[in-house]
């Protein structure tokens, strides 16, 4: 549905035409009330019916008590971006009740717990009260479980009213409780009772319903980006992760812990081949991660903006001492503590320049959950190949929300362990009378050969340091040595694009207008692209997936008259980097940046581009 116009208007005695698989439901609950289970059930059941869905959790930085919202968008056309208004609201929280009413589109629907005794000020919506307390009382549930299971009432009522398959709700429960039959059955009992109550007591007056679909969710799964990243890393042979809890990155490391015993038991001995350490802070998390990377382990940490700030000094050392490691930055809203539970693409320039002195970091930017899986293993390859930190820029929206996404694909190539010399390699070099130095550019690609601790060859060792060093790792303050080494590292990074994910171009033919987008901003941009097309504005879209930029980015800037750079931050950070890298095209780029804590919508993107197009034409 489009976002801003009334989807339909119901007169007193006219029936609106049905709206199928194309609307938005927001569930308003109290944080800590266990509603996440109920919301995920609805989402997964709809997904299992073959309907494209996306779910977004808008939650407070709080354990219990503050309002929290969960929005499910059903889109028969497969659009996954956020919408600004709701067709259906399920109100379970008296504290935010009046606010909820404002977000319902005319002709929309309000389901509410009937113990909320507040005036319903809207006359242009359809309302369904739900006797939550009564149904729970009748369900004979232990009093301490009542609050948690109360949410199953709206699952049952709404499920019945929309036509969500009871069978799929059961399957979703089974997924959630990992097959624990008692929990599945007691929850399902409430769902069923609530559905039966609705069948007997509510008359359907609204046009919204769901139907099974086929073809749109084939080869798709439903997962979140943090789980995907953790799994990708485990399939990438991750061997060490040091981490410190921080929203919204915590669940990434917790997923490592969850799947490590399942996936990484050595087939020969049954013992583990990876170690995950919760550190005392981010300073130590990155220190451990760099120590492990230096000593030859595939090594990773996961954090968010404040943690990345704390990691800057060690990242500078790893850049200069050429230590491979991977940093997942699941971005939240900054500056400062900011909005810890809201999403942003706000750490782009920070990650790029992280550290004092001249530095530039390699960045990967996944745009979907399945890409989080792919970049989970690829980032480890890139880091070891380039002997440098690789920062993967995810965000809260991608990391913590459930997304319909392509199935995870098994890595399509063997691991790239980069240029590591073991005993026999050193011996061969010595025998061939060849020179080896830790920072000696033997191949001319800016990437030297490295040895790692534990190598027993008497000529293998070197002393790594963040102080000035020459090609043999010896301390040096010589001006020409300093410049030579730093220039080689810059060359190494600039020439790295062949190892990095290339941009993805969506083109309908040659257009004058281009849009550049990264990461989780893609769904809103792709939907806006389609809406603009309907309005006669054709655009090409380039999604950048890594920095340093591939040559295709320069081509795209050259080949378009105007390039809108759409991003979820205030300053247009990707655009800033484009302007630095391609100053000759700087005036062609237009900043389309916005940040209020929520994910971008197609409506906002489209309107911003339309407004600028009107100005220039």
């Amino acid at each position: 549905m489009s976002d801003e116009s009334p989807s339909h208007v119901i007169g007193a005695d006219t029936k609106a035409s049905p709206i199928v698989n194309d609307f938005c439901i927001t569930i308003s609950t109290v944080n800590g009330s266990g509603s996440a289970t109920a919301n995920n059930l609805l989402l997964r059941a709809l997904f299992r019916m073959g309907i494209p869905v996306s779910g977004k959790n808008i939650f407070p930085s709080n354990i219990q008590g503050l309002p929290t919202w969960y929005t499910i968008r059903l889109s028969k056309d497969g659009y996954l971006a956020r919408l600004e208004k709701d067709d259906i609201v399920i109100a379970m929280n008296p504290a935010s009740f009046s606010r909820e009413l404002d977000y319902i589109l005319p002709g929309g629907v309000l389901f509410y717990a009937d113990d909320i005794k507040q005036e319903i000020t809207r006359t242009d919506i359809i309302t369904y009260p739900m006797p939550v307390k009564k149904l729970i009382k009748d369900a004979e549930i232990a009093p301490n479980m009542r609050d948690y299971i109360a949410n199953m009432v709206y699952v049952g009522v709404v499920g019945h009213m929309l036509g969500i398959s009871m069978e799929e709700l059961y399957a979703a429960l089974d997924f959630h409780f990992k097959g624990k039959k008692k929990a599945v059955d007691s929850n399902f009992g409430v769902i069923k009772a609530a559905a039966e109550w609705a069948a007997a007591n509510l008359e359907k007056k609204d046009p919204y319903r769901v139907e099974r679909m086929s073809g749109m969710t084939d080869d798709c799964i439903m997962a979140d980006g943090n789980t995907a990243a953790a799994l990708g890393a485990l399939f990438g042979g991750l061997q060490f992760s040091g981490w410190y809890p921080i929203t919204p990155a915590t669940s990434l490391a917790e997923s490592l812990n969850e799947y490590l015993p399942v996936l990484r038991k050595d087939p020969e001995t049954g013992k583990l081949t990876c170690i995950v350490v919760q550190s005392e802070d981010e300073l130590a998390a990155i220190g451990m991660t760099i120590g492990a990377g230096w000593a030859g382990l595939r090594s990773m940490t996961s954090t968010s903006g404040p943690g990345l700030s704390l990691m800057s000094e060690y990242l500078g050392l790893a850049y200069y001492a050429e230590v491979p490691c991977v940093i997942w930055d699941v971005q939240r809203v900054g500056p400062s503590t900011g909005l810890p539970t809201r999403t942003q693409q706000g750490d782009i320039t920070q990650a790029y320049f992280n550290g004092h002195g001249d530095t530039q970091f390699v960045m990967l930017i996944p745009g979907s959950v399945s890409e989080c899986f792919e970049f989970g293993w690829r980032a480890l390859d890139v880091a070891e190949r380039l002997q440098t930190p690789v920062i993967v820029m995810s965000d809260l929206d991608l990391g913590m929300n459930q997304w319909m996404t392509k199935k995870f694909e098994y890595p399509d190539r063997p691991m790239d362990r980069g240029k590591v010399l073991w005993e026999k390699d050193i011996e061969a070099l010595v025998n061939a009378n060849k020179e080896w130095g830790r920072y000696l550019d033997i191949d001319g690609d800016g990437i030297p050969y490295r040895t790692v601790a534990g190598n027993k060859h008497p000529r293998s060792a070197y002393f790594a340091r963040g102080t000035g060093h020459d090609e043999f790792g010896r301390y040096s303050e010589e001006p020409e040595v300093w410049e030579r080494v730093l220039d080689r590292i810059a060359r190494k990074i600039q020439n790295s694009t062949k190892y990095l994910p290339a941009p993805v171009l969506t083109s309908d033919g040659k257009c004058d207008i281009g849009i550049i987008v990264t990461g989780s901003a893609e769904p809103a941009v792709m939907e806006a692209h389609d809406q603009l097309k309907q309005k006669g504005i054709a655009t090409d879209v380039l999604r950048i997936r890594s920095i340093p930029f591939h040559a295709e980015v320069e081509d795209f800037l050259r080949d378009h008259e105007r390039v809108y750079v759409v991003e979820l931050n205030r300053d247009g950070q990707i655009r800033q980097l484009l302007m630095i890298n391609y100053p000759e095209f700087a005036t062609k780029t237009v900043k389309v940046a916005h940040t209020d804590g929520l994910a971008l919508t197609a409506k906002w993107v489209r309107e911003a581009i339309e407004a600028h197009e009107e100005k220039v034409s």
């Binding site: 799964i221 013992k271 220190g287 063997p414 190598n455 027993k456």
Partner: protein
């Protein structure tokens, strides 16, 4: 490659290496710096313990102390990290090959100020490594500021009088549940070497606080961090000998009743000869009292203050494969295609 050999010649040890195989680059520290003496004893201890240099990995933070790992064991890998953050670097690196002996060299500036958090936490985790604090009470590289271990009332050129009570490295280590706490003095090479040997055999974190006078900025006779004070006020808890596991223990001059043995995890033994007090280093309460007593009397108490050889070390709890993680091939690191198929099916 060097392999252990049983042949013992006069100028080589049991692994066929000479002392020069343990040396490092020439020191660029000041002439007479206590840190140089410590580097010499590290060389001596490892040579005498027949440790192959490739089996050692060195770590340091920032400061004069942290430069010193280049002055010993050129054949060992080393990593000079960030100020106060050597411990985390060491933890990560040692995970790659837990058979390696880690030697971390830090200073009072590095460990007692910016690094206090990491110092405490590596102790709490009992990461198996030797952690040496080369303690001189002063910031040398930045030319003579007070460090957190400088004693109250100390007057230094340009700095005036220090107003704050010092951090006691050993007391902090003990409170943090260190499993090995010792103090020595750079001017007492014999004791230092024996303590280094014991620390290297300890299965867990071994904190070694070494009073190491700064001859340039802080060597006043009345200061606890000076050579003069150390020589005059050093009170060893024991006379101490380290007996490696494979050597037959032949105790000649330790009389019955006046010596105490502590057996380490690897079977080696520390023999402690009673001096004026009968300190039991396995008793944590006694260790705390010895430190407090010395503080009150303004004594430089040295020796093995506390040891608990029985605690599991950090890596023991992770159920890792026996061989070094950094030598595992791809076949043992990447789960199967079937495992991914199962996960995909689960997320449907």
């Amino acid at each position: 490659m060097t392999s252990p050999t049983a042949v013992s010649q006069s100028n080589v040890n049991l692994v066929g290496l000479s002392r020069s195989d343990y040396r490092g680059a020439a020191s660029t520290l000041c002439q007479g710096c206590g840190h140089n003496g410590i580097a010499s004893q590290i060389v001596a201890a490892l040579y005498e313990m027949n440790v192959i240099p490739e089996n050692v990995v060195k770590f340091s933070g920032i400061g004069c102390s942290s430069k010193s790992p280049t002055y010993f064991l050129s054949r060992s890998f080393g990593f000079n990290g960030l100020h106060g953050r050597m411990p985390s670097l060491a933890l990560g690196a040692l995970a790659a090959d837990t058979s390696l002996k880690g030697i971390g060299v830090s200073g009072d500036g590095d460990s007692a100020s910016i690094g206090m958090g990491q110092f405490k936490h590596i102790i709490r985790r009992n990461v198996p490594m030797v952690y040496i604090v080369e303690n001189n009470g002063v910031y040398g590289l930045t030319k003579g500021q007070f460090s957190a271990t400088a004693e109250k009332g100390l007057e230094l050129k340009k700095q005036g009088v220090n107003q704050f009570l010092p951090v006691d490295i050993c007391a902090e280590a003990l409170v943090a549940n260190a499993t090995f706490v010792a103090r020595s003095f750079a001017g007492d090479p014999r004791q230092l070497k024996e303590l280094l040997k014991a620390a290297l055999s300890h299965h867990g974190i071994a904190i070694l606080d070494v009073i190491s006078p700064c001859v340039t900025f802080h060597n006043q006779e009345n200061s606890i961090h000076s050579y003069t004070f150390g020589k005059e006020h050093e009170i060893p808890l024991h006379e101490l000998s380290f007996v490696p596991a494979r050597e037959e223990i032949t105790v000649e001059d330790y009389e019955e009743g006046s010596s105490r043995e502590v057996t380490l995890h690897d079977g080696s033994t520390i023999i402690l000869k009673k001096l004026d007090k009968d300190h039991d280093p396995t008793d944590r309460m006694q260790a705390a009292m010895v430190l407090e007593d010395a503080r009150r009397k303004n004594e430089l108490i040295t020796g093995l203050i506390y040891i608990n050889p029985n605690e599991p070390s950090f890596f023991d709890g992770y159920g890792l494969v026996d061989e070094p993680l950094n030598r595992l091939p791809e076949s043992r690191l990447r789960p199967s295609r079937e495992a991914l198929d199962q996960l995909n099916a689960m997320f449907m």
